[in-house]
Symmetry: C2
Subunit: 273 residues, 2 copies
């Protein structure tokens, strides 16, 4: 039996469940690890409940800011806090545009209203921002500020790019997403490839989600340890355990890996072997 042609929305959902079930992913929720308030089933439910927004993205119903907001609305009912906000920031333009070329076009032609919708979505998540360094999404003045500066969603991403790996993808043509997909292809079929690619990206850049939570030194150290794991100098399971115990979860890399899986699946990568 051959795989039926799946829609882009389904491919995005598949990417979400394949990412969260891949194991071991140092510090992140996976099939063997939960955090107390954010568990495997929150991610699985979020993947299923995101469908209407992903389908609207595939149809191109509206702009990416509106669709990211819709995805947050669709999935925001559980108690697991933020699960896929960063992933939606990448998946929505990718599903709209199909691939990186199409997603870049989407990213390059956003409006002020996309930015406003994005901020409304952001305010509904529990994602942290760096005080004083970012437009505070919980402060109504931010929306006034956005409007007075006439910022598009692309401008918002440009503004956040120095401090946020996910935003940076919008600006640089989805470079880490591309790199992650290449790592997946290079690792071969099946779920081990997801772990390989995750480690590969973790060894490449300090995770900005870790920076926001634990500061740049911790993020840098984690990157170095990921390199040691890849070089066979450090045990993967022990590294995972250390990250879990210290609450160090590379959330930005996980978001990007989801986008990488989406891309790789579209390029013929076989998740099932």
């Amino acid at each position: 039996m051959s795989m039926r042609t799946i829609t882009r929305a389904e491919r995005a959902q598949l990417a979400m469940v394949l990412e969260v079930s891949a194991y071991p992913k140092p510090g992140n929720v996976d099939r063997c690890h939960d955090y107390e308030t954010t568990r495997l089933e929150h991610f699985l439910a979020s993947a299923i409940l995101a469908r209407p927004a992903l389908e609207a993205a595939e149809r191109g119903d509206t702009g990416p800011g509106f669709l990211i907001h819709q995805a947050v609305e669709c999935t925001g009912g559980h108690r697991g806090g933020n699960t896929h906000f960063g992933a939606f920031i990448l998946l929505i333009p990718l599903v709209m545009g199909g691939d990186i070329k199409g997603a870049t076009k989407v990213a390059d032609s956003t409006t002020l209203e996309d930015a406003v919708e994005f901020y409304k979505a952001f305010a509904k998540t529990e994602v942290r921002v760096i005080p004083g360094h970012e437009l505070d999404v919980h402060d109504p003045a931010s929306l006034i500020e956005l409007r007075s500066r006439g910022m598009t969603l692309h401008d918002v991403m440009l503004y956040s790019a120095p401090r946020d790996l996910v935003a940076r993808e919008w600006i640089n043509g989805f470079q880490m997403t591309r790199r992650g997909a290449d790592l997946i292809h290079a690792a071969g079929c099946g779920r081990e490839a997801v772990v390989e690619a995750f480690l590969g990206l973790l060894a490449l850049e300090p995770d900005t989600f870790i920076i926001k939570k634990h500061g740049p030194d911790v993020a840098w150290k984690i990157m170095e340890k990921a390199r040691e794991v890849r070089e066979g100098l450090r045990d993967l399971q022990a590294f995972d355990q250390e990250c879990i115990e210290r609450g160090i979860n590379p959330g930005s890399i996980a978001d990007i890996i989801i986008a990488s899986i989406y891309l790789a699946l579209g390029e013929g990568w076989e998740w099932d072997c």
Copy 2:
């Protein structure tokens, strides 16, 4: 934040991912156990890929035999063998009819064409039948036989009911599904309730999937051991390990538990607490 109203199709998908991730479920694939050829991600992918058939069921596009066939077609692309065939047999009428009352109406008004479509679907799975005791779905003569007897899908289920717990649900008003949902409600919110209900049903009846694979004595023994676990006389983890090692997977109970979760969710059970 309150959960948005989810569709019946989404509720069915949610039931599928909540069932497979619940742990430990003696002998079955769960978040900590795979079988070599059927793994967690096969079940997760199947839950996502079943969507078009579940949505068609919610709209009432066509009869249950056609919709079960569609669900098998939608999800049959992976290499994990049968994942949710039994679950679809229960979910399709439940999604069509909403609840047990509606599902029973659906089950009571099937046609010969539903039976034919069901057999075509069955032939595409790798589900085993008892030679000599069942219409062999891989034998084209079975379809001629069905037609000459003028059997409806309900007749097929009646014919299979003595040897198949899932078929029996169609005949007896979804009694074990109801029982499973009651066990879920009684156990309280969250994923532990799924494990409780699974053990409860396993202690109630010998699993017919185990009977087909290992014979009635093994199935009876497993039922007795499940009772001992519930009475605190046997360790759950050790029982799980024994089942996994012997390849004893209570697949029929798992199918019914999925239907029970679907039902419980519709009755306000909270998966997330």
